[in-house]
Point group: C2
């Protein structure tokens, strides 16, 4: 049922505010998504929030009204509140007019179906939640099945990651695991593990990538640990032209992912036509 | 000369702190860069800070000591201070042990030499300073000459942009201008203006891109205005596989840039070998 709430000390307001904190997200099993566009994306993916907070200051958008009605019909909690309170929840000065708290999906590696997609992204110890969200968004755009987070990555359900994912948090499968478990799972089925490295002769445009392809990206500062790189079936190099010897992690993932797709679209390696 | 400063109210401390604010950056003509890695990148590019602040808490790294000595020899101001004060300057809880204030370079469009590089990046109304910095970093890695900022972009000299650039703020030329001035300048010399669009039949892997190539990327939410797209010599489409119909702006720029470079490396279009 929809309630009007204007107090910062209301329990639901406090719960929603707390979801900016990882411990509170883990405790409640919920996460925040902001803005009608992402809530609509969630709905299109068959997901409804358990709690909605929206500002009654403006006219309610018809699509927002529909999501609110569906949330209530499903037994969800809907609160009408002020932009001030929404601002406190989202941590932004100019908050979106609506936000939802969603149940976190199962992130067990065993729940992934590798045959569901030709491409999977794997991130190791990525610290920046914006990078995690951007990689989810890129995965969605390139037909990846999902993102496997290895070792101590930033929380994919943080407000920053969800925001950067632009809705892909609802369309991409997510698994959180450790390296040993991942390798055991990977080797129990088909899959090519591809990493990037500065210490390889293989240009990233040369290979014919196999399906399912698992693209492994390492920590922002340190890259892949040597033993992780050694486990890869294929290490490729993206040639750099400038002073820099590295790319942003989300950028490197996207360039690799598009190159892999290009090789598949062409039915052969993207560089296969070059006489050498 | 090196001075020890422990007061938050010291004038130099206040100046450095103020550089997180755009108005103060414009007034002083300075900007902040944090961390030895970026200061060393600047030095390699022939740039020294006018002011250095560093923490005396730890042993000073030999390279930092050299940059400090060179800064002093050039008449710069060097202050030894506390991690607390560095933290206030950088806005980070765990500040780098050294930071420098650098003079902003000339950002007049006329100062750019288009013949200096085969590739230039052009951003229109990009609002996210992290995107600006990431695009600079990608430009450096892909041999771009620099970044042209059109209409009301975020400040490339903001702390966030400089941080995301990972030193590329010192290696890439930067121009800030308006659309009309840019088009006049562009058309006064050689150059292919390439934009991305959802409404074109040209796949981004098809063309043979011309040099110098100017890659135009639009605002994060709205993309390119229709008349800007109409001015492009070439509009290309990056095929999307998922629910999403767009990529993060810095991601789209990087994927385009790597595809353009790949077409040049191959001496023909990247998809030229496909029988159609």
């Amino acid at each position: 049922m929809s309630r009007q709430i204007t107090s910062f000390s209301n329990d639901t307001v406090k719960l929603l505010r707390s979801l900016r904190d990882k411990k509170a997200r883990r405790g409640s099993g919920l996460f925040l998504a902001e803005g009608l566009r992402i809530l609509a994306e969630a709905r299109d993916s068959g997901r409804l929030p358990e709690i909605i907070a929206y500002s009654a200051g403006n006219k309610v958008h018809p699509l927002a009204a529909r999501i609110i009605a569906e949330c209530e019909a499903a037994g969800g909690d809907v609160i009408q509140t002020s932009p001030d309170i929404l601002s406190r929840m989202s941590g932004k000065d100019n908050p979106q007019a609506i936000l939802g708290a969603y149940r976190q999906p199962d992130v067990a590696l065993g729940a992934l179906d590798r045959s569901a997609a030709p491409l999977w992204l794997v991130a190791q110890a990525l610290r920046d939640p914006g990078n995690i969200g951007t990689i989810l968004r890129t995965g969605d755009a390139t037909g990846a099945g999902g993102l496997i987070l290895i070792d101590d990555c930033a929380d994919p359900f943080s407000v920053e990651a969800v925001r950067a994912s632009m809705g892909a948090i609802f369309t991409q499968s997510i698994a959180v695991t450790r390296w040993e478990e991942f390798v055991t799972w990977l080797r129990a089925g088909p899959g090519q593990l591809v990493g990037t490295s500065l210490n390889t002769a293989h240009d990233y445009l040369e290979p014919t990538y196999q399906q399912p392809c698992f693209v492994l990206v390492g920590n922002e500062s340190h890259g892949l640990p040597a033993d992780y790189a050694a486990e890869c079936d294929l290490l490729v190099k993206m040639p750099m032209a400038g002073r820099a010897d590295s790319l942003n992690a989300a950028i490197a993932t996207a360039v690799m992912t598009f190159a892999i797709r290009a090789s598949w679209r062409n039915g052969q390696s993207a560089k296969g036509f070059v006489a050498e």
